[in-house]
Amino acid sequence: MEKLDIGKYIESAIDSITQHAGPVLDGIALVIEGIVDGLQNALLSAPSWLIMILMALIAYYVQAGGLKLARTKKGFRKGFGLAIFTIIGLFLLLWMDYWEETMQTLALVLASAFLALLTGIPLGIWAARNSKADQVIRPVLDFMQTMPAFVYLIPAILFFSVGNVPGVVATVVFSLPPAVRLTSLGIRGVPEEVVEAAQSFGSTKRQLLFKVQIPLAMPTILAGVNQVIMLALSMVVIASMVGAAGLGERVYSGILQAKVGLGFEAGLGIVILAIILDRVTQALGGLGKK
């Protein structure tokens, strides 16, 4: 018996997409390129001390629990630590001469996370409100999460050649599932009675969604945002294999040249960035609460 060759069908499917959907792919590439370049230029053209202070301030306000609390002693005690860490961490990277790579990585992570959330949150809302949609989306997400991340790189290259764009596309695909899952989970987790109460006062579906379900699901959705950003950061390193710029590129060349020092330095940069992004996004859920 001839062996079953699924790969062949996948290849031909990808081929036909590249052939027929060329303009669409070009359009997508253009948009992604624009976002990533814009972010990178903004982050790199500003003086490094300004970026450091800005990031430290964001870290401080978010950790302190919002603008109001940031002026109180309690808020200061909570926000102070991360602000100092941000300054020291970023300064260290600047000193090691990794500033450009760090900013490139940050731009890639933010662009990918933004796109993943832009598609993931509406999908999650849809899945929460429509059980048929949920039945379809769920296995697709399972597939996306269990498929080894490297595999996404291949079609990404075929569709978008090399560079930042295929990197972002692969990262979006890889980091999308938690946005969908946690949004859906959050909305489904809104107490039935609260939903009934809103309905009993004559809410339309839209009012129910925006006045009740999304606000109540917000902590869970924000946990999803945190997950998306962390996954994006981990994928950006892998994405350097298709030519995405940044810290990942250095790690990758460290591997190829078997230079432990180079790999470690760049890896340290990723860790510092990860800690800052993680703490900031985790604290988002606590904004405005006492």
Binding site: P191, E193, A197, S200, F201, G202, K211
Partner: protein
């Protein structure tokens, strides 16, 4: 016309509810239907009407379908068959717009676990109903403030609901429901999640509020004491079917079947059963102007008692005469009952006096209590044994037996 009329209402959960409905209508039991179609029969052939301005209580154990039933009124549950007429319009036939209008302006609901929005202040929660209608913030907040005052939460407007106690949260729930000024209030186990003391308070306040607002209230509870306290009328639900509808006293005195009787058994009857239902109406009485001691004695013998109430020609209660005194009077050959009339009789009681309030009046007295109306006319007499029987839940023979044998 009644405010709400429920006719042949069925509510069946499950995908094969049409098939299940056929089976239920043919008389198949709830369990059999579940086995056959995997459908749950929540409400079965409900027929009743609710009058304008009354508190109508639906009572049943958990799983009896009472919460499912109340959710049919505003169609949070879609009934399977039947009709619910509100001022003659069928709620079940309404389209989405009409239904939304109904929910916004005519019916509000109060929930067991309050159903408040935790990310909003008390004020914003209370204004929710008006906000949904598109009323401006200034106007809706003004009305909300008024309602918050009405339910006694003044000063808490800017607190978050999570910072309040359960009782206070439910006040917010009540204020929110009242802010849209609905005619009908649906209260689903509204006080069941509260501590007993706070619960009693809330019940009292609801009664007080209702006196002012005169809404039509449908109140769901599993607690008979609460039902008896709040309800103008009570419907008792068992397995989705209404087994009895009546005033609290009717239900206590004449339970329709064993299920209701079992419910009623453990109630503090002394607060519900009143003088009018435990008095003896045919006690025999003497009319002062025309009856004499011989007639008095003969009638006492007939009735097997040793005293009789005396009234005037207008049936106004005057006092009692005792057999011993009547014998003395007869010996003297005097016919004037006035001479032996015991006038300074213990307090007369109104027919709606609860049994619990009657008991203390018997202390140190040998005579029964006359039950009179507002004009002082005699309605009947209440005797110790029947009051004690009512309060303790034992029957009279039992009590007499205990008394004769010298106590328990």
């Amino acid at each position: 016309m009644s405010k709400i009329e429920v006719k042949d209402l069925y509510l069946i959960f499950g995908s094969k509810h049409k098939q299940a409905l056929e089976l239920v209508k043919k008389g198949m039991s709830k369990d059999k239907v579940l086995e056959k179609t995997k459908c749950t029969v929540a409400v079965k052939d409900a027929n009743f009407s609710i009058e304008q301005g009354e508190i109508f209580v639906v009572m049943g154990l958990s799983g009896s379908g009472k919460s499912s039933l109340i959710r049919c009124f505003n169609r949070l549950n879609e009934p399977t068959a039947g009709s619910i007429l509100l001022d003659g319009k069928d709620v079940i036939k309404m389209n989405d717009d009409q239904l939304r209008q109904l929910r916004r302006t005519e019916m509000s609901m109060v929930f067991q676990h309050f159903g408040l929005l935790p990310h909003r202040s008390v004020l914003a929660n209370t204004a929710f109903g008006l906000e949904i209608q598109g009323v401006s913030e200034a106007e809706s907040y003004e009305k909300a403030r008024e309602m918050i005052k009405t339910v006694g939460l003044e000063g808490y407007e800017d607190m978050m609901t999570g910072e309040l106690s359960g009782g206070m949260q439910q006040r917010v729930g009540l204020a929110r429901a009242l802010t849209t000024n609905p005619e009908i209030l649906l209260m689903d186990e509204a006080f069941s999640a509260l501590d007993p003391l706070i619960r009693t308070n809330m019940q009292d306040e609801l009664i007080e509020l209702q006196r002012k607002l005169k809404k039509t209230i449908v109140f769901i509870t599993h607690d008979l004491d609460e039902a008896l306290k709040l309800g103008d009328r009570i419907a008792i639900l068992k397995d989705g079917k209404i087994v009895q509808i009546g005033t609290p006293e009717e239900i206590l005195v004449n339970p329709a079947d064993d299920y209701v009787r079992a419910f009623v058994e453990n109630v503090d009857r002394s607060m519900i059963v009143t003088a009018s239902s435990l008095m003896f109406k045919n006690t025999g009485k003497l009319i002062l102007e025309k009856d004499g001691p011989s007639l008095a004695l003969r009638r006492m013998r007939e009735m097997g008692v040793n005293r009789l109430p005396v009234v005037d020609r207008e049936n106004v209660f005057l006092g009692f005469v005792r057999d011993n005194d009547a014998v003395e009077l007869k010996k003297k050959d005097d016919r004037d009952l006035n001479k032996i009339l015991i006038k300074d009789v213990m307090p007369k009681v109104a027919p709606d006096t609860p049994a619990a309030d009657l008991l203390p009046l018997f202390i140190d007295k040998q005579l029964p209590l006359p039950v009179v109306d507002d004009d002082g006319k005699l309605l009947g007499v209440a005797v110790h044994s029947s009051v004690i029987a009512e309060v303790t839940g034992r029957d009279r023979e039992e009590i007499i037996e205990i008394k004769n044998s010298g106590g328990l």
